[in-house]
Symmetry: C2
Subunit: 384 residues, 2 copies
């Protein structure tokens, strides 16, 4: 018999996909309530027109040959400038790798530093894309409860789970699905602890631009960043999802290793998408307006839930709201909600928390509030 | 100390890059012979205009959101149709994954089937992108001499190297760097042997469209293809190098596993590049003219070398010619050739054969023949 990588059998079909597939059953049933799909993690706000126009011209006029290794220098310099302007951090172009979206960045980071037998720690709730990469590296994901600390990872909690097998900590603030951001203190404590104990910090900051309240505390801002690998991308900030464009920032020394993995895995990101990212950084101050829209949605949905006595984690960033369903089986809840109310949500179990559901804030406000009302009614109705 | 994946230390900086870097030294020295760079594996023929124009319109008009998992269905159906029309093979859309160039296809294939401790067999000369992927998988590359069989792998030779650790065979016909194609008989013998011994065939057929003599024998054509993973792409056939677009074809069962690796490594290929590939298949019968140009270059360079008594492998496809330098150190040869004749070539050692150099056929004919003359002069001149 042909043998296949046995780790791959441990990776299950995502719960998100199960719900998406169930959705198709309820589409366009005439005389029925319209289906509202809140499962999608893709911004609904359009891609900036200037990016599309500039890139269309570029395609016609440019050679579109192989990219420089690790990404075109113009884009890497512009990313460095962005971090200088926004966070006052000095990053050099040769500390940046342009990746095929943040997914490839994550995959490359994990393949570079995580070895078979290692443990990787991450706080709950957790984005479901991390565990498969950790499994494929032959390592083990250790999930840490953070409810008592407002869903932020603290160094005290972290210490309980660190042992000599621990290699890295994966963090995702602003968080998908909770919208929680991390405080300066927690960030610095975790960084200091990681420094003392030779642990990598893989910081997925893909929602860094979408902040409703407080400020984003990047893991690059602390000054010490020898063991930090920052993952970011343009899918959420500029809605460039289908373009597959993101980046990694690390020390130069670490970058030399990350680059080997990146190069042999994908050669480079598409040169066209790299141009799109360059235009995004050069010409799109359009983000503020966009954040305003997400903020209004988040606050209005949160308020409506609160008024009805349904508890949720108040999002401070990202494009989701994580809603408590009390005790329960979140997949069953999501299936029944879809069946009786025609609202599709992602079961919290996908993020390691079975007593929650995730609503995406990427529909217009009216639709979101209509869905929220249906969810409230469903939660408050007597169920068998 | 921070620990890094130790396999990455085994991966050296490519010899190709060393020569490229040495090239920059000799650029634009006034009063000097002009530099002719034959190291590049990138087609010089322009990308078809129709692809650029259609994709530019698509960018302006389409949503450019996330791709369907494994690639948009229109493109996968068009690839299937292409294999039906060209080879009369029945491939289904759900046996295809659209990848980030053929590199990601290779990387995904190897990660899916090759495990730590495995051995992977490949004939010499060998494309230098394979070994790093095999090393990263914790496996060992076993290189097989093929000189006595006209640089084709035969089943007899293969048998000498197969043991119980052997997991897969990687083949690359038409070959980079030799331009050799594989005969039907050798292909079928190898396939039958692989079938009997539960070995995977990873067939990199990225030069399948560029044939000068004879015909391309795809590993999918044999009828039995349960253990075949075909890797292909649009970089060489349609010059779409910077677009990063390719595909994998396998059995449906194997595809389910390949898809997990692909999805968690890159999410998908750029939706823009997917559109480019779709236009390439739909509207570009322009390839024939292009092949004619490569064929003329190959034949004229080959003849000129032959006339001068310099032996080379006669290329039957691809975009290279592999030239014998007798005994010797090919890196030193390439460095001296660059120094004294201002011609940059890739040392054969990069392909596991130190008594050869590789010339790319991606410069215009006059320049190629000028470079050939300089190489002949260099080979025939007395050296210290």
């Amino acid at each position: 018999m042909l043998e296949i990588n046995p780790y791959l059998d441990e990776i299950e079909i995502s719960v998100i996909r199960k719900i998406s597939e169930a959705c198709t059953k309820y589409k366009n049933i005439s005389g029925d309530k319209c289906l509202i799909n809140l499962t999608i993690g893709e911004p609904d706000l359009p891609q900036p027109k200037i990016i599309k126009e500039d890139v269309a011209n570029y395609i016609v006029e440019a050679k579109l040959g192989y990219s420089q290794l690790g990404g075109i220098i113009e884009l890497r310099e512009e990313i460095a400038k962005y971090y200088k302007d926004k966070y006052d951090i000095d990053i050099k172009a040769d500390e940046i790798i342009v990746t095929v979206g943040s997914t490839e960045g994550l995959s490359t980071a994990i393949k570079t530093v995580v070895l078979p037998g290692d443990e990787v720690i991450a706080p709950l709730p957790i984005y479901p894309g991390y565990e498969p990469l950790i499994i494929m590296a032959g390592a083990k994901l250790v999930k840490v409860e953070t409810k008592d600390d407002g869903y932020e990872l603290t160094v005290e909690k972290l210490k309980e789970f660190v042992n000599k097998k621990t290699k890295a900590i994966i963090l995702n603030y602003p968080s998908n699905p909770s919208g929680v951001i991390i405080s300066k203190k927690n960030r610095d404590d975790i960084l200091n602890f990681a420094k003392e104990n030779n642990l990598y910090i893989i910081s997925d900051e893909v929602y860094s631009e979408i902040i409703f309240e407080g400020e984003h505390n990047s893991f690059l801002q602390n000054g010490y960043r020898e063991n930090v690998i920052l993952v970011n991308g343009f899918s959420k900030s500029h809605s460039l999802t289908g373009w597959r464009i993101g980046y990694l920032i690390s020390s130069k020394k670490l970058r030399d290793y990350l680059l080997k993995v990146h190069q042999y895995t994908v050669t480079s990101a598409s040169i066209i998408s790299q141009k799109g990212a360059l235009v995004a950084l050069n010409k799109c101050s359009c983000i503020d307006e966009q954040i305003g829209i997400y903020r209004e949605r988040a606050m209005k949905v949160y308020s409506r839930l609160k008024e009805a006595g349904v508890s949720a984690i108040k999002p401070k960033g990202a494009i989701y709201i994580f809603v408590s369903i009390g005790e329960g089986n979140s997949l069953e809840f999501a299936e029944k909600l879809l069946e009786s109310e025609r609202v599709a949500v992602v079961p919290g179990v996908a993020f390691g928390m079975d007593n929650f559901i995730r609503l995406s804030l990427v529909s217009d406000l009216d639709e979101l509030l209509e869905a929220t009302d249906r969810i409230i009614e469903f939660i408050n109705s007597p169920r068998v």
